[in-house]
Amino acid sequence: MAKNKADLLQGTLDMLILKALSLGPLHGYGIIQRIGQMSGEMLTVEQGSLYPALYRIEQKGWVSSKWDVHDTGRRAKFYALTRIGRRQLEAEEASWDRLVLAVTKMRQAT
């Protein structure tokens, strides 16, 4: 059961991470911040979910990572969208929209 739920979240989480990175490269902490900002603080992502998801999509080739110096002068690992990642984001957004549309229609059909 718990696993199913995680899988469901995971798919959404991938899209959120990709979306957050669509505006520019970020480190892990930055991604959590950006998702918070972009969702008007309605979505919070836990570190425990973020990093496994991040590594997974990195292996899929959707994002690339490198260690770089942060504007505060500290070193951090930055993630950036790859071309495949950008296409994946578009695809996931489109399918998300279809899902929303479908669910909306269902709800209006009462």
């Binding site: 570190q47 425990g48 990093y51 292996q59 899929k60």
Partner: protein, 887 residues
């Protein structure tokens, strides 16, 4: 791309596990620092800020593990863990591991060795261009003699009138004496039509190929050298082309050298019985002339692309029918046959090889059954461990995977060791293989063979690993944990599985034993065949005189006689004789038609024919061939032409039934002007062509009547015939220092060569059958021993209740023997079905020979009785008190 990434990440994680973990830790640390800094900004105290940041990460350790798993640690890590675990387990159980590895190594090693031979002889392409289109063209004589040579006239007919072949070449082997620089030696020379190498698709590496003009009548003789001969005799001299060499005193100009490894030797009907070292051009006269009808040519042809052998055969049939009409006197009743080159080379070895490969396959199966049994015992012993792991949440798949890892590890070690055994085994195989088995020298461990070894290792791992693994994990959890002694919780299914394995082993062993037994009996029958002479203490050697040196026949006749006289005086020599073609020497003899004086001329195609040999009087004495009637040649008949002849018993019975042949006159068509000869004696039959074929009618000419430039000496000695070789050499050298001797062998060696193939097959099958029996005995012993361990309490109880030793023993033996009996019954059925495949390899014994079968069954019974007896005896020594208390 992404797949590659994952793979790379996994490999990276595997190799650089530390660095991946470090990377993750570093990233997390930075994250916590950033969050702490943010918390500070929100006005928290430093301690509070850091703790909140850490808390938000949740359980850092498990997050890290999850992250690590994603980054590729997972699969490889588990796999390595399994391997490490398996290795630890194998090291802990040394006896089990050693027995299992050796069993597997023997099975895999034997398989690899035999497969390498099969691969070389049956699977690998022959070393000629497009070799699957190459075929041999032969004649079948009216008497039904297969793969017979053809005449130059017929070859010309085939070449001109058939349409199925792209090209065609004829060739014949001859022995010639090489003289000049270096020691004189006898060389096998192949005379081929100039198209020979073109048909085979091979070109000389040095110089040029034969040309049509080289094959013209009276063209200057040329020579193309084999690479090994060129290296051996001329040290690989790059300037050899254009130089002359002396063959039988005639200069041949060297025009080319063939590539290393090139060999073209068709044993069937070869005039020399050994591969050629020099090739020269053969002329095919365009008109009828003397000798154009003599049958001595072998023919190789290249089929047109896409044409089947059947289509070509139809073409050959029409052509031969036409040639028969054109020349009924020569071709009446002759038909043709086409043999694909591979079949020609491998012939009846093919079946034997597949059978032997099947036999080692059986051995491997038995090995698998044994190891599976061992694994089962081990799994039973580990039942509690497995139950605990299952209870702690390990999935069945996980445990099966782990047990299978163990099997694969075993198989891998067994495979590697097997490879070593195979490398050694191949050498042994080559060493004991019959000399005439094609190109066995090329057999070795190549990529195909390595692939095969890997393949069978993995298949064996699955075969012997899967059943026990599934069986082990099928157990009843609570039962296994509750049972004090684990082993007694064994399911009956597991017991049945082990019994089944033993039954299979016994059945397989029986099939192998029966096959080996049949071959052994057949081989001993072969040894018992009366060859017609006494081969013990006879030295044989070929002496060939150069034509150029002895211009007249009389000269070499007297040379042979002088040599014979000199050898006769040597100490230890009791008698000396000579014959042109030694019995069973492995090559062609001569034969022809004959007419009997006073009988009407027979219709074409029905002329009687006979083998023809040339000998001296001493031959019959030295070989101890009995004189049945009449008399031997006299001294006078050995010195001048007296037109007398000796015939063998088969000739007398077949062509002179009911009459006395002595004094009859026959004309044997051996020369251009055959003359009638008088039969003076009848000698016993000798098997010339092969041991198994019945003796054919044969006539013996005295040497002056039909001269040959070579003779095979047979020297009967009082001791080891090979000991007098130096003395014989000395005597011949004294007579002519340039005279080479060749094929110096004892007659027993010659005989051994003729049965070499049978001996090879028999030896291998006997070896594997022995191995199979041994492994089965180990299997029975293992099961009985294990069963004893399971039943020790029961036996103790029985004994406490008054059972006698005898009864306990009987109970144990009954259990073991029952398995053997069932296995034997299945094995007999299998053997009866399978040994029929052997029947063409058998001589003088039926494939269902009852004595062999009864013997084998008894043998297996005795072996299994011994294997059962040892554990059974231990059962009787069980102390009831200890057995009962042990719980």
């Amino acid at each position: 791309m992404s797949r590659f990434n994952i793979l790379f990440a996994r490999l990276n994680a595997l190799v650089g596990r530390e660095s991946v973990i470090h990377d993750i830790d570093e990233e997390f640390r930075v994250h916590v620092e950033m969050e702490t800094a943010a918390n500070l900004e929100r006005g928290m105290s430093p301690t509070e800020a850091r703790q909140t940041a850490l808390r938000s990460f949740g359980n850092l350790g498990s997050v890290r593990d999850a992250a690590y798993e994603v980054r590729g640690g997972g699969m490889m890590e588990t796999f390595l863990q399994d391997v490490r675990y398996a290795a630890r387990g194998l090291v802990k159980q040394k006896t089990f591991t050693i027995v299992a590895v050796i069993t597997l190594a023997l099975g895999i090693g034997a398989n690899t060795a035999i497969f390498s031979v099969v691969n070389e002889l049956l699977l690998r392409p022959l070393p000629y261009l497009d070799a699957q289109r190459l075929v041999m063209l032969w004649e079948v004589t009216p008497e039904g003699r297969h793969q017979n040579t053809t005449s130059r006239a017929n070859f010309r007919g085939w070449r001109e009138q058939t349409t199925s072949f792209e090209s065609m070449a004829a060739f014949t082997d001859q022995r010639l004496n090489l003289t000049g620089a270096g020691e004189a030696e006898e060389i096998s020379v192949q005379f081929g039509t100039p198209s020979l190498f073109h048909v085979l698709g091979v070109q000389p590496i040095l110089g040029r190929d034969m040309r049509e003009v080289d094959g013209a009548k009276d063209a200057p003789p040329i020579a193309i050298l084999s690479n090994s001969f060129w290296q051996r005799r001329f040290g690989g001299d790059p300037q050899i082309v254009g130089k002359p060499i002396l063959l039988n005193g005639v200069p041949f100009t060297v025009v080319g050298v063939m590539p290393a490894g090139f060999q073209w030797h068709i044993k069937q009907r070869s005039g020399t019985g050994r591969p050629a070292e020099i090739w020269s051009a053969l002329d095919i006269p365009t008109e009828e002339g003397p000798g154009s009808r003599g049958r001595f040519l072998s023919v190789v042809a290249r089929l047109k692309p896409g044409l089947s052998v059947q289509q070509a055969q139809a073409d050959m049939n029409t052509t031969m029918a036409r040639l028969e009409q054109d020349a009924p006197r020569f071709n009446k009743g002759y038909v043709t046959e086409i043999i694909p080159l591979r079949d020609q080379f491998v012939g009846n070895v093919r079946l034997a090889l597949w059978i032997i490969l099947g036999a080692v396959g059986f051995v491997l199966l038995i090995a698998c059954a044994n190891v599976a049994n061992l694994m089962l015992s081990r799994a039973a012993a580990r039942e509690k461990e497995i139950a605990v792991r299952t209870a702690l949440g390990a999935g069945r798949l996980r445990i099966v995977r782990q047990l299978l890892t163990e099997s694969f590890l075993l198989a891998t070690i067994g495979g590697l060791l097997g490879l070593a055994i195979a490398a050694w085994g191949i050498q042994a195989l080559v060493a004991i293989s019959p000399r005439d088995l094609v190109n066995l020298q090329r057999v070795g461990l190549n990529l195909t063979v390595l692939g095969w070894t890997m393949g069978i290792s993995f298949i064996t791992a699955v075969i012997f690993g899967l059943a026990p693994a599934l069986e082990a994990t099928r157990l009843n959890l609570t039962g296994a944990l509750k049972e004090g002694k684990g082993a007694e919780g064994q399911s009956p299914r597991s017991g049945r599985l082990r019994s089944g394995l033993v039954i299979i082993e016994v059945a397989l062993a029986l099939v192998l034993l029966a096959s080996a037994g049949l071959l052994l009996k057949s081989f001993s029958q072969l040894q018992k065949i009366n060859s017609g002479f006494n081969p013990d203490n006879i030295l044989t050697m070929v002496v060939r005189v150069p034509d150029a040196k002895y211009k007249e026949d009389r000269q070499f006749v007297s040379f042979f006689r002088q040599a014979s006289e000199l050898i006769r005086t040597l100490p230890g020599v009791t008698s000396v004789g000579m014959i042109n073609y030694l019995p069973l020497y492995g090559g062609l003899g001569s034969g022809t038609g004959f007419t009997v004086e006073g009988r009407p001329e027979p219709a074409p195609g029905t002329e009687p024919s006979t083998n023809v040999r040339v000998s001296d009087a001493g031959y019959f004495t030295a070989m101890q061939i009995p004189l049945l009637r009449g008399r031997n040649f006299t001294d006078q008949e050995m010195n001048e032409v007296k037109s007398v002849i000796i015939i063998n018993d088969a000739m007398a019975r077949k062509h002179f039934a009911g009459e006395d042949p002595i004094g009859k006159r026959i004309t044997v068509e051996m020369s251009d002007k055959p003359v009638p000869t008088e039969i003076i004696g009848i000698v016993g039959d000798v098997r010339y062509d092969s041991l198994v074929d019945p003796p054919e009618p044969t006539v013996y000419f005295p040497q002056p009547d039909l001269t040959y430039a070579f003779m095979t000496f047979v020297i009967r000695t009082t001791g080891d015939p090979l000991e007098i070789v130096p003395a014989v050499r000395r005597e011949v050298r004294a007579l002519d220092p340039e005279q080479p001797l060749s094929d110096v062998r004892s007659m027993n060696e010659v005989m051994a060569d003729t049965v070499a193939r049978a001996r090879f097959n028999t030896l291998l099958l006997a070896l594997f059958a022995g191995l199979a029996t041994l492994l089965s005995a180990v299997g029975i012993f293992g099961v009985m021993n294990y069963s004893l361990a399971l039943r020790s309490r029961e036996i103790g109880l029985r004994m406490a209740l008054g059972a006698q030793n005898r009864q306990v023993m009987a109970m144990m033996l009954k259990q073991g023997l029952l398995l053997t009996v069932i296995g034997t019954a299945i094995g007999i059925a299998g053997a009866l079905a399978l040994t029929r495949l052997l029947s063409t390899l058998l001589f003088g014994v039926s494939a269902a020979d009852p004595t062999i079968f009864v013997g084998i069954v008894l043998l297996l019974m005795v072996v299994s009785l011994i294997a059962c007896y040892l554990p059974a005896r231990r059962a009787t020594r069980i102390d009831p008190m200890i057995a009962l208390r042990s719980e």
